[in-house]
């Protein structure tokens, strides 16, 4: 009887064996391979890399397999792995202007220097189930642009900036802080806010961004430019003293054009919101850009009334690894605290009975 209440090592081990078995599923079917996940569930891999804050398609694929497709669990696995990795230093800032673009659109202008490039997107597909996929049909080869795309696509927001219509990005002095090395302190600078949003839960950011569009802290956004492609990552080893290219990563970037600001004496300018993420993650970076802009309310002299403008609220609750841990920790035993409440509740109830009896006896 007594033992049944407590856990026991054997029970835990057996439960983990069972989990392994469930993960495997029907043993007559071949196991899904990491290559298959990396190649065919690319957007899942991208999300795990993004919110796991680690660019490694292979580890992300493994995490997805191990997590049985549970994205937050996979993200958690990547984060825990990340803790154990040695840090060599900081890469040079990415130059997204020189991105090798795969997709690049602007909703603000009909045509832009360098062109609107639709690229691989779900946009404009009809969301009808494609049963040919169920039959493992191979797709036809896609036609590609005859010529090479420009290697230095000008930024839409800079085109506006040259006319003075766009605020200049707020560059804060000094080295950016690092969310993964120092605790988040409030008030947080934009550097920390963007880092937090970049690893924030896509669903949470999407809902917050949506709320700004529905009036809870409106920012009047236009999708100035969204671009997807590969950029080089450079690193300056101390012993060399100059940057060397260490690889190439795929990223998505979103620059929003928002509500202009000015007065009768200060020339009005559009304001901006920014989003950046690993892999292809347009929903995420758009949401991020909207929330980034909302969080700038204080700096831009706007009244903070909506949840998306509340820095402590947004940044403290955006991390799904933290959120899932704390919500799910309610599964852990709380016998002692519950017992304390039980004792109190029973005594309070008993005292009311005693008081009632006394009153009746006195009458």
């Amino acid at each position: 009887m007594y033992v049944a209440v407590k856990g026991g090592e054997q029970a835990i081990d057996a439960a983990h064996r069972l989990l392994d078995e469930e993960r495997r599923g029907d043993r007559s079917l071949p196991q899904v391979t990491l290559d298959q996940i990396a190649e065919q569930l690319t957007l899942a891999v991208d999300r795990v890399m993004n919110e796991g804050s680690l660019y490694d398609r292979e580890l992300a694929s493994l995490a997805i397999k191990q997590a049985r497709g549970d994205m937050i669990e996979a993200i958690f696995l990547i984060r825990a792995t990340r803790t154990t990795l040695a840090r060599f230093g900081y890469a040079e800032p990415l130059d997204t202007q020189s991105m090798r673009v795969k997709r690049r659109i602007s909703a603000a202008f009909k045509d832009i220097p360098g062109g609107q490039i639709l690229g691989p997107t779900f946009d404009y597909t009809h969301r009808l189930l494609d049963f040919s996929l169920a039959a493992d049909a191979e797709p036809a080869e896609a036609a590609r642009a005859p010529s090479e795309l420009r290697s230095d696509m000008p930024r839409v927001l800079e085109l506006l900036g040259s006319e003075g219509l766009m605020e200049q990005p707020s560059a804060e002095a000094g080295e950016p802080e690092d969310l993964t090395q120092d605790p988040l302190n409030f008030p947080a600078g934009r550097d920390l806010r963007l880092q937090n949003l970049a690893r924030g839960d896509e669903g949470f950011l999407l809902a917050l961004a949506y709320s700004t569009q529905r009036g809870y802290g409106r920012t009047h956004p236009f999708a100035g430019e969204i671009r997807l492609g590969t950029v080089e990552v450079s690193f300056t080893p101390e012993e060399l003293g100059f940057p060397i290219v260490i690889g190439e990563i795929t990223i998505t970037e979103c620059e929003m054009i928002n509500q202009f600001k000015g007065s009768t004496t200060v020339k009005p300018q559009f304001t901006r919101g920014y989003g950046l993420g690993f892999g292809q993650c347009e929903r995420k970076v758009m949401s991020m850009a909207l929330v980034d802009r909302s969080l700038r309310a204080g700096e831009l002299g706007e009244e903070r009334v909506a949840p998306a403008q509340d820095e402590e609220f947004v940044l403290s609750h955006s991390d799904n690894v933290q959120a899932t841990g704390f919500v799910e920790h309610l599964k852990l035993p709380h016998y002692v605290d519950f017992q304390s409440e039980l004792v109190l509740l029973r005594r309070m109830r008993a005292e009311i009975d005693i008081a009632k009896d006394r009153l009746e006896a006195a009458e």
Binding site: M1, Y2, V5, K6, G7, G8, E9, A11, I12, E58, L62, F76, R79, A80, R82, T83, T84, A86, R87, T180, Q181, D182, P183, L184, N185, F186, P187, E312, S316, V321, Q322, T324, G325, F326, V327, E328, H329, L332, P333, H334, Y335, V336, D337, Q339, S340, E341, L342, V343, L344, M348, E351
Partner: protein, 278 residues
Amino acid sequence: MNAPAYNFAYLNEQTKRMIRRAILKAIAVPGYQVPFASREMPMPYGWGTGGVQVTAAVLTPEDTLKVIDQGADDTTNAVSIRKFFVKTAGVATTERTEEASVIQTRHRIPEAPLTEEQILVFQVPIPEPLRFLEPRETETRTMHALEEYGVMHVKLYEDIAQYGEIATTYAYPAKVADRYVFDPSPIPKFDNPKLDNCPALQLFGAGREKRIYAVPPYTKVKSLDFEDHPFEVQSWSEPCALCGSCHSFLDEIVMDDKGTRMFVCSDSDFCARQRGER
């Protein structure tokens, strides 16, 4: 793809040094919540990541570790955390309170008195005692800095006005060294007196909230109360059904579906010793 080899007690040395600096600061300013760059651990936030990081930072290969949850060594999460340190640090473990040099705990302080040779590490879910009265970190920080703790008593006043007594039964706030009000983690208030003037070093780690705080050995810890409604601990009308102890915290066990109940010690090591099994 090969499995990586982990450093002693999982964390790399750089991270441990960062945590140790936070611990030293916490000891220097008793009860003050020191922010630290909590890392993602291989167990979920809210499941003891703060305690695990503190333990990992203070653990040496010569240590003997005891891990309890709800007072017991064999509860699921205690087993899981103990296995983690056996695997990553290879330290000796024990279930006996007096044999342990480091004790990681969730929700209890062992019944047996602790010694100067021991470190007690608490797992903390919400380190901020003012959090449910004031959700903003910027404001609670100021309140601590200025010792503005009146609002804590407002909560206690409300309890008495409404129920005739203070209705907080666990995570009962206390003042450390006459300065900082702190949350002793969700231990039952039954354990609060053990915090006071304790010979062992008591460390508190909150991983998700990224805070470390400490009660150094032999430090005054005073549970908040009113002069005319002094702090009191729970008591039970019957002794432990297994060992007969009248002075320990008892868990209630429902025996059957007719509501038959049994009360037994939550501290499984203490109970075994009382029964003379050791």
